[in-house]
Amino acid sequence: MSEPVLEIKNLNVDYGLGDQAVHAVRDVNLTLHRGEVLGLAGESGSGKSTLAYGLTRLLAPPGVVSGGEVIYHPEKGEPYDVLGLTDKQLQAFRWAETAIVFQGAMNSLNPVHKISTQLTDVLAAHEPQMSAHSRNARAREMLKLVGISADRMDAYPHQLSGGMRQRVMIGMALILQPQVVIMDEPTTALDVVMQRQILGQLIELRERLGFSVIFITHDLSLLVEFSNRIAIMYGGRIVEEAQANSLYRDSLHPYSKGLLSSFPALRGPRRELAGIPGSPPDLKAMPTGCSFHPRCPRAFEPCAGNIPVLGNPDTPDGANRTVACWLHPVKQPVG
């Protein structure tokens, strides 16, 4: 496995303070390696988006990061903790090192500014020595890269289609050549054809430019197709993490199994389609023990009482995957 670029260590994110705090992300450990696409899947409310916003400190009040470290390994130089940066340092870190493509393709662009303004103001903020002319040239280049003709530079967001806007956002994310791109449901608002087109293009760009991707979606089928590794979140925790194909073929956690059986197989033998009974847990009133146990078809005696730890299971490929489930004894806990 290649070297890590982003290490999330015991990240905890709450909404609210004190007794009223809702724990949206709990003790998440996750490592993104150089050049890989890491998929993050889960139902809505599982904390996957909160995780993404939390690690870059973009959560609106009353969100707070209540603990953890996010270690970033720059291309050159010593690794450092993103959560320990000052506001100024954080501003410099954002977008230059970690860019985000957001959920709402429609609302990510400022409606009153031209596309060009929104592309070049990143450059103006991060590379102030750059001339206006070269900023414009750079913006043009990025648009070309994502397949938008340069004459759309002076268009306003409302003059572009949803797909084009999301392309602009991807181009914008890559304009400073970050090492990490976080994509939060980047294609949810688009139709299926457009989804695949844009994701395909992104994967191709990744091979060309060599950045790493954290790809967040509730659509596990997309992850199986487009990512190298997949982490499954439930109730604010990571419950399973494995190579995409091993997770697809042989998932260990009952929740992962449930998610996988809720969409038809793209290739290979037919599987029976079944959803997961029940609904995602209320973060304000989490079940005791493993938060999935009320919905779990295989829950047994310890599940309700104790929270299982995430660790390498005792399977042949156990060293390359982790799971948090009482069904699968852990050899070595993570974190």
Binding site: Y53, T56, L58, A60, P61, D87, L90, Q91, A92, F93, R94, W95, A96, A99, I100, F102, Q103, G104, N107, S108, L109, N110, P111, V112, H113, K114, D121, V122, A125, H126, Y156, H158, Q159, M169, M172
Partner: protein, 326 residues
């Protein structure tokens, strides 16, 4: 351009509606008081002037409503609003054009300052929740609940007086002649300070509050999060992203509230005996000078419509979505 043309058509329509209302109101008056006033000035008026008042107030009972209406319009297009009784024998149009510049200067400038000041404070209050401006809000709520004219009374009582820097009434001192030179202008400025301050204090809180609320609403938009994620400076996010968008509804609010605000500010003129339209209206009401009242209403309405149109043009320039595509 389509947007602007639509707006202009709408304002023309509104102007028509206001003029039509103005046409009908005197015709609803029971026992026409204009006639008794006419009788008082009998012999001092030319027959032309009497005719014109007959047309304005529908005293000619023989003519059909329709022909009265047509005559009314004809007369308006000639700028003939009748004769003022209080300023007899000056025509209403002349009396109004003497007063209008005072109101435009006082109310117009103060309202614009109030809008910009309130909007700026609202940006700060909305962006930095829990700052000192949030603490200011209850006080401004109280102040905006006070009628403008009462605040004016209080201001005169507390600040003006024979020995004070602030004169308590009038538009300029008795020692200067209305002529555009420095002594006159400085005297006029001095006289306008207290009324302007009164209007400012009572109207600014509305802008602070609405802008604050818009900022809070806009701050939750995705493009604000994107702007932060892009690592832009907080200042740029607050101004170029949040405030720039929050301003748009506030401008349309400005246009729509003008009618309310102008009503209130005219009252301040009364308290300060300021020689503008409000004070003129007050005197016209007191003297039952109907031609003057009607004329003032028309002029105020048209002025508000023009101000609205200006606000619309500002909106047009600020919001690309209202411009035509391409």
């Amino acid at each position: 351009m389509k947007f602007l043309i639509q707006r202009i058509l709408f304002y023309l329509f509104t102007a028509w509606a206001a003029i039509t209302i103005n046409f009908f109101i005197p015709r609803l008056i029971p026992g026409d008081p204009v006639k008794s006033l006419l009788a008082r000035f009998q012999g001092q008026m030319s027959s032309d002037a009497i005719d014109s008042l007959y047309v304005l107030f529908g005293l000619d009972k023989d003519a059909s409503i329709w022909s009265q209406y047509v005559d009314y319009w004809k007369q308006l297009f000639q700028g003939d609003l009748g004769l003022s009784f209080t300023a007899f024998p000056s025509p209403v149009s002349e009396v109004i054009s003497d007063a209008l510049p005072w109101t435009v200067a006082l109310v117009g400038i103060t309202t614009v300052i109030s809008f910009f000041l309130g909007t700026s404070l609202g940006v700060l209050a909305g962006w930095r929740r829990g700052s000192w401006i949030d603490g200011l809000l209850p006080a401004t709520t109280f102040l905006s609940s006070v009628p403008y004219f009462w605040l004016g009374l209080l201001a005169i009582y507390l600040l003006a007086g024979p020995d004070s820097f602030f004169p308590s009434s009038g538009g300029y001192g008795t020692d200067v002649v209305p002529y555009p030179d420095w002594p006159f202008i400085s005297s006029a400025l001095q006289h306008s300070l207290l009324p302007a301050l009164t209007i400012l204090i009572s109207s600014v809180s509305g802008w602070i509050l609405s802008m604050r609320n818009m900022m809070v609403t806009v701050a939750a938009e995705d493009y604000i999060t994107v702007a932060h994620a892009k690592g832009l400076s907080d200042r740029r996010v607050a101004l170029s992203y949040a405030a720039r968008n929050a301003l748009l509804p506030n401008i349309s609010g400005f246009a729509l509230s003008l009618g309310f605000i102008v009503g209130g500010t005219l009252l301040v003129e009364i308290v300060f005996s300021y020689p503008g339209l409000g004070f003129l209206l007050f005197r016209a009401v007191g003297a039952k000078d109907y031609p003057l009242m009607q004329g003032i209403f028309l002029v105020i309405t048209i002025s508000v419509l023009v101000a609205n149109l200006i606000a619309d043009i500002a909106y047009l320039m600020l919001d690309p979505r209202t411009r035509k595509e391409g």
